[in-house]
């Protein structure tokens, strides 16, 4: 279920490598000056390709203030799965996160919201018990305070090493969203590259509003699995944000530079307060 890309398509690491002043765009192959790319919110100035960015960077881009929750929750190894702890430790060092999501209370323009941002650089953004639990707690926080809920998705799917418990996080988050939905809460789901499988087949699909970043891979089954199953070429742009927009699965495709403004406008629309 975890989506893996081939080596040559490896995402850019979140921290600059020692001599990495320059890098090549995954899409247009132009050589880009790293500082300039970062200033451009990691969107290629030549072709508009949206590079994957870590959760902390999204929080910088989207918010005017952030207070993090549940920093003390960390993954266990409930199945005693071989090498899982080492893999977790490596990604914890690499990202500075305990697991694949950061949650908290955020200011976005004049609005206060409950915000969750997934991090693809931590185990491919996969959802295990910690991600499920933090999403559940975030939904409750939003519900108790009447705050809108925003979750930025970035995930290959369920965390394989936590087995069936990972699968059950889909039911857990969806069941909690059922309550939030009945309470009249607003949920904006933002889909970034990639938002797939277990995450897309649970909370990420359940937004009142679904926004996607350009080019983001969005879907249930990974393209390689589909290709192996049907033994046919996939149509161009298959499962990309624009394709999903055309097929009615997302509300809007919004470039990263306009993401915050768009979210503020949507929050304005649904807010009953005067700002």
């Amino acid at each position: 279920m975890i989506f893996r890309r081939k080596k040559k398509l490896k995402p850019v690491p979140p921290k600059p490598v020692p001599d990495g002043l320059w890098l090549k765009c995954d899409k247009c192959s132009n050589i880009l000056y790293r500082k300039e790319l970062e200033k451009n919110l990691s969107v290629c100035p030549k072709c508009g390709h949206h590079f994957r960015i870590p959760a902390r960077r999204y929080i910088q881009i989207l918010t005017d203030g952030f207070e993090e929750f549940d920093k003390n929750l960390s993954p266990a190894n409930p199945l005693n799965f071989r090498e899982y702890e080492e893999k977790l430790r490596k990604d914890q060092e690499k990202t500075g996160l305990k697991d694949a999501i950061v949650t908290g209370k955020a200011k976005i323009g004049p609005h206060t919201v409950a915000l969750g941002v997934m991090d693809f650089f931590f185990r491919g953004g996969s959802m295990g018990s910690v991600v499920g639990e933090k999403v559940k707690r975030l939904i409750y926080y939003a519900m108790e305070n009447n705050f809108p809920l925003i979750i930025v998705g970035a995930s290959g799917g369920a965390r394989m090493q936590e087995g069936i418990l990972s699968l059950m996080q889909m039911a857990k988050t969806a069941a909690t969203l059922a309550e939030f939905h009945e309470n009249g809460g607003l949920f904006i789901s933002v889909l970034t590259d990639p938002t797939m499988a277990g995450v897309m087949a649970s909370y990420a699909s359940l937004g009142d509003i679904i926004i996607a970043e350009p080019g983001a891979l969005i879907g249930f089954a990974g393209p390689r699995v589909i290709q192996q199953t049907i033994k046919k070429e996939l149509p161009p742009g298959f499962q990309r944000a624009e394709f999903m927009l055309k097929h009615g699965m997302v509300d809007i495709v919004v470039p990263r530079q306009k993401l915050k403004d768009t979210i503020v406008k949507i929050l304005d629309f649904f807010s009953n307060e005067k700002h």
């Binding site: 910690v130 059922a178 699909s205 879907g219 089954a221």
Partner: protein, 323 residues
């Protein structure tokens, strides 16, 4: 002609020998030989089935003779009216939905169907549902809610279908929506994993007040083959993955993901489909009897709370974690 698995071979050999001898059982010495073989058969049964590996259970869950939803409908219901279609796009034959009567109890039945013959398997898409299947299942479950009939789902699928049309029509959305709506359905839901519980494709009809598994069924976030291919780049290591993923009924009971295990006849469900169906029927009817006592608000609250408790995490002492 029954098909059998590698580890069933010694049993099948003796069974065939017994059948031969039974034709000549009046001849001298044959009765003694028959008694000896029957004792040996019992011993073998116990030896083999008392210590099945997770992978052997996977093989049993996928056994070509294993009873499927259509068999259970025949064996369990006095009456069944099949309902078709999602009223949106089409009718998905990978899932059968309808109005069933079981021992006088009128219920909504939803079950994945793999198909028995080669032709059936193609029609049924090997039990791999499309979005319209999940939408049909929910539509019929909502009939149960509206008219106060409990819902039984029978899970047996390798997974939701990975195809172009399935993605175009929102496979992920269809499953997600079912999870949310099944967590809200104001009528009792019982789910039984009868064979393969293939990940999100299984869970899409699997959110329930009570979830049971047949003794040799399995339920997993990823197929053992898929897990082995990702972890060790070798699908042949599936038996190891089957053990590591903790996918047996006993594992899931210990992880508190399911509520109980339904016993199978010795040798597996296919050895006696009627007995298997009777075992399922008893557990399901008992569960419905209990669940019907709960007012809908409490039923839904308890169902949600059950899922909200699932998962295992470490909670660190905040004083020791300055970041």
């Amino acid at each position: 002609m029954a098909k059998y698995l590698d580890f069933e071979e010694p049993i099948v050999k003796i069974e065939n020998r017994i059948k031969e001898l039974e034709l000549i059982k009046d001849e001298a010495g044959v009765q003694e030989e028959l008694d000896r073989l029957r004792a040996e058969l019992q011993r073998l049964y116990r030896e083999i089935y008392a210590s099945l590996t997770p992978w052997q259970r996977v093989m049993l869950a996928r056994h070509p003779d294993r009873p499927y939803t259509l068999d259970y409908i025949k064996l369990m219901t006095e009456d069944f009216i099949e309902l078709h279609g999602d009223r949106r796009f089409g009718d998905d034959p990978a899932v059968i939905t309808g109005l069933a009567t079981i021992d006088g109890e009128k219920i909504i039945l939803v079950g994945q169907e793999k198909g028995r013959t080669t032709r059936d398997k193609i029609v049924r898409n090997f039990g791999m549902m499309h979005p319209e299947g999940y939408r049909k299942a929910l539509r019929v479950m909502k009939l149960g809610e509206k008219f106060h009939r409990p819902v039984l789902t029978l899970i047996d699928t390798p997974g939701a279908y990975p195809g172009i049309g399935a993605e175009e029509r929102g496979q992920a959305e269809a499953i997600a929506y079912n999870l949310r709506e099944m967590a809200s359905l104001r009528t009792p839901i019982v789910a039984v994993v009868t064979g393969e519980g293939g990940s999100g494709g299984a869970l899409g009809i699997g959110v329930a007040d009570r979830v049971y598994m047949l003794e040799n069924a399995f339920y997993s976030v990823i197929s053992p083959e898929g897990c082995a291919a990702i972890l060790w780049r070798d699908a042949a290591k599936a038996p190891e993955a089957a053990a590591a993923l903790k996918i047996t009924a006993q594992d899931l009971l210990e992880l508190r993901v399911i509520d109980g295990i339904i016993p199978e006849p010795l040798g597996g469900a296919h050895r006696n489909p009627k007995e298997t169906a009777d075992n399922i029927k008893k557990v399901v009817l008992d569960a419905f009897r209990e669940l019907k006592k709960l007012p809908p608000d409490e039923l839904v609250r308890k169902r949600r709370e059950k899922y909200q408790r699932m998962g295992v995490i470490n909670i660190e002492d905040t004083q020791n974690t300055p970041n």
